[in-house]
């Protein structure tokens, strides 16, 4: 059991009207919730770290709720999601892996029945490191229009003894999606893939 010590929270919202093509009838919105927390394992090798995943659950829920609020308040508007972590340099990549379970749990919990695996990425880095958080459809990973990513970062985080945790949600497809593949309207929704 470790305390989750939050230094800083950041919420970023992007509203995309076009990218050189026709104006979107419904602008795409993407949001990221970022939190810089103290890394309780910084500076040393700790064999048993898995318990910290449970400690992170409440923070994950808080971040997922913040994203829903930032995107209009209705979980039914959310079509894509992703997650990621940047571990400060006194930590190890494995500390970032602690985010897989609580980050995914939190978004599924808030979104009800989301079936698809939550795409993720992680790295070790210094303050200002940028992370391209991958995004896929919440119910079917193969929906090609929803393959996306959002670049995030905080100028002064992660410090060396911190972990920057990220959750991302979107309200739809890429703004001018037109490269075919499985469509959101064709989802069977059985296996989380198609």
């Amino acid at each position: 059991m470790h305390d989750v010590l939050v230094r800083k929270r950041v919420v970023i919202v992007e509203e995309i009207f076009h990218e050189g093509g026709p104006l979107a009838t419904k602008p795409l919105r993407r949001a990221a919730a970022l939190v810089a927390i103290h890394n309780p394992f910084a500076g040393k090798y700790v064999p048993e770290i898995a318990g910290f995943m449970d400690d992170l659950n409440p923070l994950g829920l808080e971040m997922a709720k913040a994203l829903i609020a930032a995107l209009g308040g209705d979980p039914r508007l959310i079509e894509g999601y992703g997650k990621g972590a940047i571990v400060g340099t006194a930590g190890e990549l494995e500390h970032g892996a602690l985010w897989h379970v609580p980050g995914g749990y939190a978004m599924r919990e808030i979104l009800g029945n989301a079936k698809a695996i939550v795409a993720s990425t992680k790295k070790v880095g210094g303050p200002g490191t940028r992370l391209d958080v991958p995004i896929t459809h919440i119910n079917a990973s193969y929906v090609r229009s929803h393959f996306d990513a959002m670049e995030v970062g905080i100028a002064d985080a992660p410090k060396n003894d911190e972990i920057l945790l990220a959750l991302v949600m979107t309200t739809g497809a890429r703004v001018h999606a037109r490269v075919g593949g499985l469509k959101a309207a064709e989802i069977k929704g059985e296996d989380g893939l198609r």
Binding site: V6, R7, K8, V10, I12, E14, F17, R130, I154
Partner: protein, 194 residues
């Protein structure tokens, strides 16, 4: 609307601790940014009035977004700042035309008062360039606790023919400010300086 907007972003930052010491209440700052087409990209145009009009429009829109992101009444905002990054086919003077002649009036209208100069910065750069928005107290530029800055960046902007325009608003000064100087409760608010 005069400005051709490709996307709008908001960023909210909340600092809860510094060096393990609680920041109570947490300091919060928000920035709203628009990515717009530069109507004068790639050529020298003498009369920049169109960009001045765009600045007026964005002053209202971005201040409203930033204040909404903080969830406070405009009059409760404590400090502010503005900045623009011009894509490679534009000139620095295009940023000046947006920021300086007409943008301030609607900002002050949205925030109640605003006797102080709105601190500003500008640059030319490519996509993902970091924009450091200077911050100062809105009613008295010499309030030392509110000298600050907020970094934002947008990974895909400004494109060559675009301008990234941002306004930052806070509900507080720096976390744990303690280097003396004029404090906010000493503001006379007559000349915008003290």
């Amino acid at each position: 609307m005069k400005a051709k907007i490709r996307k709008i972003l908001t960023f909210v930052e909340e600092t809860r601790t510094e060096m393990g010491k609680a920041v109570n209440p947490p300091t919060r700052r928000a920035a709203a940014a628009a990515v717009i087409e530069n109507p004068f990209a790639g050529r020298y145009v003498e009369d920049l009035a169109e960009l001045m009009g765009i600045g007026e429009e964005l002053g209202a829109l971005l201040t409203e977004r930033a204040v909404a992101a903080l969830g406070i009444p405009g009059a409760s905002a404590e400090s502010y700042g503005k900045a623009a990054a011009v894509g490679e086919n534009g000139e620095l003077e295009h940023a000046a035309a947006i920021l300086h002649p007409k943008l301030g009036t609607p900002v002050r209208k949205a925030l109640g008062k605003g006797a102080a100069l709105i601190p500003s910065s500008k640059k030319r750069g490519g996509p993902g360039v970091a924009l450091d928005i200077p911050l100062g107290h809105k009613d008295a530029a010499f309030v030392r606790s509110h000298f600050d800055g907020m970094e934002i960046r947008v990974n895909d902007a400004p494109r060559a023919n675009e301008i990234l325009v941002a306004i930052a608003v806070t509900d507080s000064g720096r976390p744990l400010a303690r280097v003396g100087g004029l404090t906010k409760d000493q503001i006379k608010g007559e000349d915008g300086l003290r």
